[in-house]
């Protein structure tokens, strides 16, 4: 018998799942802060701008909506589809308590409930913008139509992208279930795809109108979903095309109408499907496949026997966990994005050659330091008590340092050297940059355990279906990245051109504090900081170029040594309260 009231049940599931997401956010202050930034701060800025410039906005003469606007919306829509598909594959491939849910209501009810939950999550992020856009349309331009068309257009835009993203996500999951080839090569295929999609979008958004781009926003405007923007601007000085409004409405509506049954069917197949085995027929005889042993798993990254056995084991374990559970490295996205943005800046400004090698020296140093030892106590999980009772703090901390020092330092130096090939720098500068990369990586590796142990994260977060991933705390990542990134950037600046470093110092220690104190109304402070800036600017370049790097390296050395001993102390004095 068909389930009666399934849509009501779906709505209940959707609302319940949405509330669970909100509650889980409350427990993670860092994520909550980031989550609030977009839906609250951005609309707030728009609202303030709209109030400030209300007069000017009202005086704008009507003009035709440029094609680029629809193109921009389309490209964002496509990127968000990718993001939702990715979320479906990695995090939301099923509902919590799946056996209970699927024996209580139909899979269609659950599937639609999950669409509703995702829709609510997306809408929650957009509520501020919807309110501000609708408010501006109604109050500034006096458009009553905006009160209706903007929410409709945004709902259709988000609804169509959620449905499309989830449909693609479930289709991918079903393919992975049924194809041993895809299951075996999912990382090889998925990682490049993810990187391409993840970097293509910001590149297009930032450079969409640049002459050198082969594809511009106007070219992408042929995609009908983007035409919803013609509907959104009804009642404003921007004039959209009526035919495109209708086209956008019809197309997005069609996507939802086709997508929902598709999701229902895909989930029914996926949730009740047994995955095919990765192994040959012989596997049927042997129920479990032995995993390769630890040392062969880490392959060439073995740890030499010059280190004591406990230190070696901790180091090998760090490498092994990273190889077997790459999801643990989700926190590296932050420094990666930072590095990517520097490269993007270099790309856009035509100074990629000058920027790439120095950026590489700093970014790789940060990344290497954050691979193994940014959350050593939390990483141990339930093993922490046994580890503490089995090994001394000195051997444990040394084990955490070994992978980075042994493999990270050469990698950092090699990558910096390779990227310097396209730089305009002299061979001496390149060599100095390579050495700097090595030094920075040593410091980065050395301070990571202390920061990770001082700011540990013990609670697991959900990455993919795993509930046991404990990425470092955001504060630990930011502290570590800043501790290496800021002095590290100054050090590479000294290597490339001491004048840049001197200007950087003058800005950091003089002009910026002067600006802030000036804004705060403390004129005495502002003039004092201006004096500091002038003093720095007046420093002899030769002296600054010689003293600056030495002082930075010495400071780094002291910090590294103190961090090492601090980490040992933290491990030895750890208590289970």
């Amino acid at each position: 018998m068909a389930e009666s009231g399934w849509l009501r049940h779906s709505a209940q599931i959707g609302w319940f799942e949405f509330r669970r997401s909100v509650r889980s956010l409350r427990g993670n202050k860092g994520r909550l802060l980031m989550q609030i930034a977009y839906p609250v701060v951005l609309p707030l800025i728009f609202a303030i701008l709209a109030i400030v410039f209300a007069g000017q906005l009202r005086s704008i003469e009507p003009f035709a909506l440029p094609d680029g606007a629809a193109g921009y919306v389309s490209i964002t829509w496509l990127f968000m589809v990718f993001m939702i598909a990715n979320r479906t594959v990695s995090q939301r491939d099923g509902i919590e308590s799946e056996p209970l849910m699927l024996t209580t209501v139909s899979s269609r009810t659950v599937a639609v409930g999950m669409v509703i939950a995702e829709l609510l999550r997306a809408l929650a992020n957009m509520t501020g913008l919807i309110l501000v856009a609708t408010g501006v349309s109604a109050l500034v331009f006096g458009s009553v139509a905006g009160l209706v068309v903007i929410p409709i257009a945004i709902f259709l835009l988000i609804g169509s992208l959620v449905v499309t993203g989830q449909a693609f996500g479930y289709a991918t999951l079903l393919s992975l279930h049924r194809s041993p080839f895809l299951r075996q090569h999912k990382l090889v295929i998925g990682i490049p795809l993810g990187l391409i999609a993840g970097s293509a979008y910001p590149l297009l958004v930032m450079s969409g109108s640049a002459d050198w781009m082969p594809v511009g926003f106007s070219d992408i405007a042929i995609f009908p979903v983007g035409w919803l923007v013609d509907l959104m601007v009804v009642g404003t000085p921007l004039v959209g095309s009526t035919s495109r409004m209708v086209g956008g409405l019809a197309f997005s509506g069609l996507i939802i109408a086709i997508g929902l049954p598709a999701i229902t069917r895909l989930t029914a197949e996926y949730w009740f499907d047994e995955p095919v085995s990765d192994d040959s027929d012989d596997a049927a005889v042997q129920p479990t496949t032995p995993a390769p042993d630890a040392r062969s798993s880490i392959g060439p990254l073995s740890v030499p026997t010059v280190f004591s056995q406990p230190t070696r084991r901790v180091a090998e374990w760090g490498l092994l966990r990273t190889v077997r559970e790459p999801k643990r490295l989700v926190h590296l996205l932050l420094p990666l994005i930072f590095g990517f943005q520097i490269v993007q800046f270099g790309f856009q400004s035509g100074s990629l050659g000058q920027i790439l090698a120095p950026a590489c020296a700093v970014t790789v140093a940060i990344l290497v330091g954050e691979i193994v030892a940014m959350n050593p106590l939390g990483d141990e999980g339930s093993m922490l008590s046994v580890t503490i009772l089995a090994v001394s703090g000195t051997k444990f901390v040394r084990g955490l340092l070994v992978p980075g020092l042994l493999y990270g330092v050469p990698v950092g130096m090699l990558l910096t050297g390779l990227t310097a090939v396209i730089s305009p720098y002299s061979i001496t500068t390149i060599l100095a940059l390579v050495v700097t990369a090595g030094v920075l990586t040593v410091f980065s590796v050395a301070i990571a355990p202390a920061i990770g142990m001082a700011l540990p994260r013990y609670s697991a977060i959900s990455v993919g279906r795993s509930q046991e991933v404990r990425p470092p705390r955001m504060s630990a990542i930011v502290l570590h990245a800043s501790a290496i990134g800021l002095p590290g950037s100054l050090l590479v600046a000294f290597v490339i051109d001491p004048e840049i470093a001197r200007t950087g110092l003058a800005i950091g220690f003089g002009m910026l504090p002067a600006l802030i104190t000036g804004l705060l109304g403390w004129d005495g402070g502002a003039s004092w900081f201006e004096g500091v800036a002038n003093t720095i600017e007046a420093l002899d370049l030769a002296t600054a170029g010689a003293v600056g790097p030495v002082a930075l390296v010495l400071g780094g050395l002291i910090a590294a040594l103190l961090s090492y001993h601090f980490a040992i102390e933290l491990f030895e004095s750890y208590e289970f309260n």
């Binding site: 479990t288 496949t289 032995p290 995993a291 042993d293 630890a294 004591s308 056995q309 406990p310 070696r312 084991r313 901790v314 374990w317 092994l320 966990r321 077997r324 559970e325 999980g381 339930s382 093993m383 922490l384 008590s385 046994v386 580890t387 503490i388 009772l389 089995a390 090994v391 001394s392 051997k395 046991e468 030895e572 208590e575 289970f576 309260n577």
Partner: protein, 248 residues
Amino acid sequence: MTAIETAALTKRYGNTLAVNELSFSIPSGVVYGFLGPNGAGKTTTMRMLTGLLEPTSGTGRVGGVPITDRDGLREQLGYLPEEPPLYDEATGREQLTYIAGLRDLPERESQERIEELLGVLDLTADADTRIAEYSKGMRQKVAYIQAVLHEPPVVFLDEPTSGLDPRAARTLREEILGLAARGTTVFLSTHILPVVEEVADTVGILYEGELVAEDSPESLTGVETDGDESLEDVFLELTDADEVAMDG
């Protein structure tokens, strides 16, 4: 010879008194059944005795080493917490090899011992399967092996038979008795009272942070004096708030 001894061992969390002036002495080679209802302070006591938690006051020694000397304690004890401490990413054999390495045990001898214990606990066939795929009982067995791998003179076991099927539970009980026969002191905390009745030489009952009874199971149940109480009856009487208040 005394394996574990405490004198007025106390742990206080703010205004909450978790363990109150606990004093006992356990000779070597015995199995000490440590009982108490949830929240009685058993885990806190075990953590203090294993050096994982500093007492608020009082003293304790395990294998003659003060419980505040974590370095010294490493050699003296093995610990199996209630939640099996394992890495899901590792195989059973890798986990044990790793712990042997952390303890700096000679490689060949430790490998032989790992194989022997895997065989005794019927885990050899699954030793190269990742722990993530293990059943609860298999996880418990691997965690038990890692607690006794270095042949410590004192072993602390917190609910070691929890989640085990009857056959595996029996194997582990026999292992515990074997440990004691070889001179190892076993400090056994469990809620499964028949296990305590079967293997413990002495039983200590903790209630609201205080040791309310300590004796052999036979003396506690009155078997020696023709009594007919079970350990469960004794436990329930001693840990019933109303009865304790009336007696007091």
